[in-house]
Each structure stands twice: as C-alpha cells, then as structure tokens.
Amino acid sequence: MDRLLRVLYGVLIGATLIYVTLPSLVVVVTAFSDKALLMFPPTGFSLKWFERAWTYDDFRKGMVNGLIITAWASCIALAVGTMAAFVIERFEFTGKRTLEAVLLSPLVIPHFTLGIAMLILASEISLARTFSLVVACHVILVLPFVMRSVYVSLKNIDPALERAAASLGASPFRVFMKIDLPLLAPGLAGGWLFAAILSFNEFTATLFVTGQRTQTLPVAMYTYVREYADPTMAALSSMLIAVTVLFLVAANRWLGLERILSIEARH
C-alpha cells in the first residue's frame, strides 16, 4: 500500500513537471523544422526560421521599442518606488495607507482593465498613443514589485547604523547616500531586474496602449501569430526562452532565486 502510494505520488510529480516543461521543449524542436507549416514531428532540419525571426522588420522594431520602454519604465519605477517605499516605511503622514493601497493595487487589478482605463484617460486628455503613455502604464504596473523588494531590504537595515553615522556628523542626505543606499543595493538590483523582465514581457495592458509606431515585441509577436502560421514564432520563442534561462541562472548566481521568489510569493 505504502509502495503503491509512493509510486503514484512519483508519477503525479513527474507528469506535472513534464506538463509544465513540455510546451517549451516542443517549441524549441519545432523551430528547427524545414517546413513552412507547424508540423509535428518535424521532418527536416533548418535554421531559416531563426534567420527570418532575426531579420523580420516588425520584430526588430518591436525589440528596439520594447528595450527603450523597458529601460525607461524600470529605471523610473526603481527611483520612484524606492523613494516611496522608504518614506512609507519610515515616516508617518496623512493618507499614507491609502497611498500605499493605490500604489500596490496593480497587483490585483486585471491588466486589461488598467490598459483600457489608461487608453480612455489618454483620449480624454487628448494624449496621443506615444511612448510616454506606454512607459507610464508600465511604471504603474511594475511599481509594486520594486516597492515590495525595497520593503524587504529596508526591514533588514539596523537603524543603529544610521544613528551612528549621524552622530559622527554625517548630514541626513549623506547618511541616506552612504548608509541606506549601499545596504539597499541588493534589494534594489532584484527589484529593478524583476521590473525590467515584467515590463519587457508585459502584453495585455500594452496591447491596449500601444499604436503601430510604439508596439513592443510581445505585441508584434501577437500580431504575427494572428497572421502567419510558420515556425518563425517558434524560432523567436526559442531564443527568448534561452535568454530567460540564462538570465535566471545569472540572477540565481548573484542575487539568489529565493529572493526573487519571495517577491513573487505574495502575488
């Protein structure tokens, strides 16, 4: 009985792991197919879809747009989120809880609701669908992740260090720059990385607020899937999966996967 249970349990775990991983593996295999139609099992080997994915104009533009938007959004979110988390954690002021609730609310508001809300607001104040609109939307979406990452690090700072520096004559600003900021650095790096990955991959809200000129890579990929059925998307997906794995291995090495996990755990 015990053995049977053990075997069943093992099978369930194995099957679930295969189920979670299978799609990525299938996509990578399909990317090397030589047929223009998605077919399984592939009948030949070619690299032409990688070449097409790499040279396809909309993907290139989407990549550039996406990187620009991600760079701005993640850096603005890092600066704004760090300051907000610092003040909320360390100071008392009226409306603090409300402000915090509003800033963290994008965690539970559906992205399509936020996307359409931002689009309507933009049209109400006659704002065109520019890069700034997309960046603003992304900053709002990723801010909670930066703030939570900073909260965790702030709680770990011993206030005695700040007092010691102040008693030795450092100005408040200097204490912040020389004591708090360096101690916060790992949390800031984790929060920034997380914000950047989320912003680069964000699709739902982005679809609502981007136009032809500002479309990001996920939006360009979505358009491609709706129009073509060849394995170009499989090739691009394989490259993105490979980059993600490399990124995660690096993040695990330098920041610790648990740290990133503890950010995600309360999603």
Partner: protein, 285 residues
C-alpha cells in the same frame, strides 16, 4: 518605525503621489465612460446614460461571465491538485536535485512572458501539433483531436500559466508546518494518508485557501491565453472587452465589462480575507 531624519525627506513621496493620481484618474475615466452613450462607428462618446448597464443582462454577456467563472474555477481546482504534491516535494524532499528541478521548471515559464507561453500551447495543441502529430504517428488516431479553441485546451494552457504561483504560495504554507506534528502522528500509528489528511492538510488550509482564491482571481484577468488558445470560440471577460473596444469601438460597454470584472475580483479577494480571518479564529494556524 519613526525615522529621525528631517521632515523634508517625506517629499521623496511626491513622484509616487503623481503616479497614484494618474492611476486613480484612469480608473475614474473608465468609470465615467461606462455611463456614456455609445455612438456606433465612432470612437467619440455621447451623453450620459444608464443604458450600458442594461445590456449586462443580455445572455451573450452573462454567458461570457459564467464561462469565465467556470474556467477560473476549473483552473484553480486543477492547480490545487497538481500544485500541492509539487509544493510538498519542493519543501520536504531530501533530494536537492528534485528540489532544484522543481524550482527551475516552475520558475522558467513564469518569466518567458504571456505570448511565448501561449504560443507554445498552440504548437502543442494544434491540428498538426505535438499531441495530434504524436498520436497520429503512433497510429492511435486517424483524424486529429479538437484541442485548440475548446474549453479543455484553454484550461490546460491556463493551468500551466498559473501553476508556478500556486506552487510558491503552497510551498510557503507547507514550510511553516513543524515536521514534529507529522512525526508525532506517524509515531502514534497513523499511516501516511491519514497523517496527510488529519495533520498536513488542515495545517496548510490557509495556504490552500489563499492559493486557490488567488489563482481564481488571477485566471479571471487572463487575456492572452483565452485570446489565442480560445481563438474567439472560448471567450473570457477580457476577450470581450478587447473585441468591444477594438472591433466595434464600443468603449462605453467595454468600460462597463471592465468595471464589472474589477468589482468581481475585489469581491472575491474581500471574501477571501474574511475567510482567512475565520480560519485564524478557529485557530488552525
């Protein structure tokens, strides 16, 4: 904690206040739009009206809400069944190889993004995709199975999408249980199933509740998966909102549906925190 720094430091909050105002303003304009008259064929909206809310009662839209709730419920249930053993092994397994395998396989799909993840399912479930291709090559079927554009296909893709989050929430709950309780039960003669049923399961109830509800709410806001795997045949609220907005330019009614989805999610999360408080009172945790 009170900081001893001078009060001017509090002005660091200003940029975030600006963002909060933008967020509230966008939700307010969404709210405002839901009361505006739809002018067919135009992106402009007319006067204030309550007519949009009356359309919510139409069967087409009720059906989308029911379908969304059913898909989310199935997804949450499947997540619990598949996620619990994974989370348990992630916390309790003695093999670090198994632990890191679970951690990595769980994490990677979470970071590849909606589109890559959803597209992968098109390749797996398609007419000539992995499943049909393999079954055909093995001689098990002649005509391809209908997997894409069905509720089953959408659920299969949705579960994979949310499983990482479920595993993380459950793993956190399981790691809080003292192993001594389980050992004590076992030493008193309870078999593994009984230990699980009478000790582990009740102790992880708060995690199970918060995980299931979180996944339920999360799935309700899914867009890319039902959009591509559902292919217009399986529609969730998000797909209806997108279609109303960008095919019919009916932004007022799209606003009504978005507000309804938002209200639904807030209600669900509110009920969950009530439930959590009750669980805490009962003293299970």
């Amino acid at each position: 904690m009170q900081d001893r720094r001078p009060a001017y430091f509090a002005w660091f909050i200003l940029p975030s206040v600006f963002l909060a105002v933008a967020l509230v303003a966008s939700l307010a304009s969404l709210f405002q739009y839901s009361f505006r008259e739809y002018i067919p064929g135009s992106i402009k909206v007319g006067d204030f009206t309550l007519a949009n809310f009356g359309r919510m009662g139409s069967w087409v839209y009720l059906r989308v809400f029911i379908d969304s709730l059913l898909l989310s419920a199935c997804t949450a249930a499947a997540n619990l069944i598949l996620g619990y053993p994974l989370a348990y092994s992630l916390v309790r397994s003695k093999s670090s190889l198994l632990k890191s395998t679970i951690l990595i396989t769980t994490i990677v799909p979470m970071f590849t993004g909606d589109i890559v993840r959803t597209y992968s399912w098109l390749v797996v479930l398609g007419k000539n995709g992995f499943i049909n291709g393999t079954l055909k090559a093995a001689g098990i079927i002649d005509t391809p199975l209908e997997l894409l554009y069905t509720p089953l296909g959408v659920t299969v893709a949705l579960v994979q999408y949310s499983l990482p989050v479920m595993v993380i929430i459950l793993a956190a709950a399981i790691s809080h249980i003292d192993v001594a309780y389980e050992k004590a039960a076992a030493s008193l003669g309870a078999g593994p199933l009984r230990v699980f049923w009478n000790v582990t399961l009740p102790l992880t109830m708060p995690g199970i509740l918060s995980g299931t509800v979180t996944i339920f709410a999360w799935t309700l806001s899914a867009f890319a998966t039902p959009q591509l795997v559902g292919g217009g045949k399986v529609n969730m609220i998000s797909n209806m909102v997108y279609q109303l907005g960008f095919s019919n330019f009916d932004f007022p009614f799209a606003a009504v549906l978005s507000m309804a989805a938002l209200a639904l999610i807030f209600a669900i999360l509110g009920l969950m925190s009530l439930g959590m408080r009750r669980l805490e009172r009962v003293g299970l945790h």
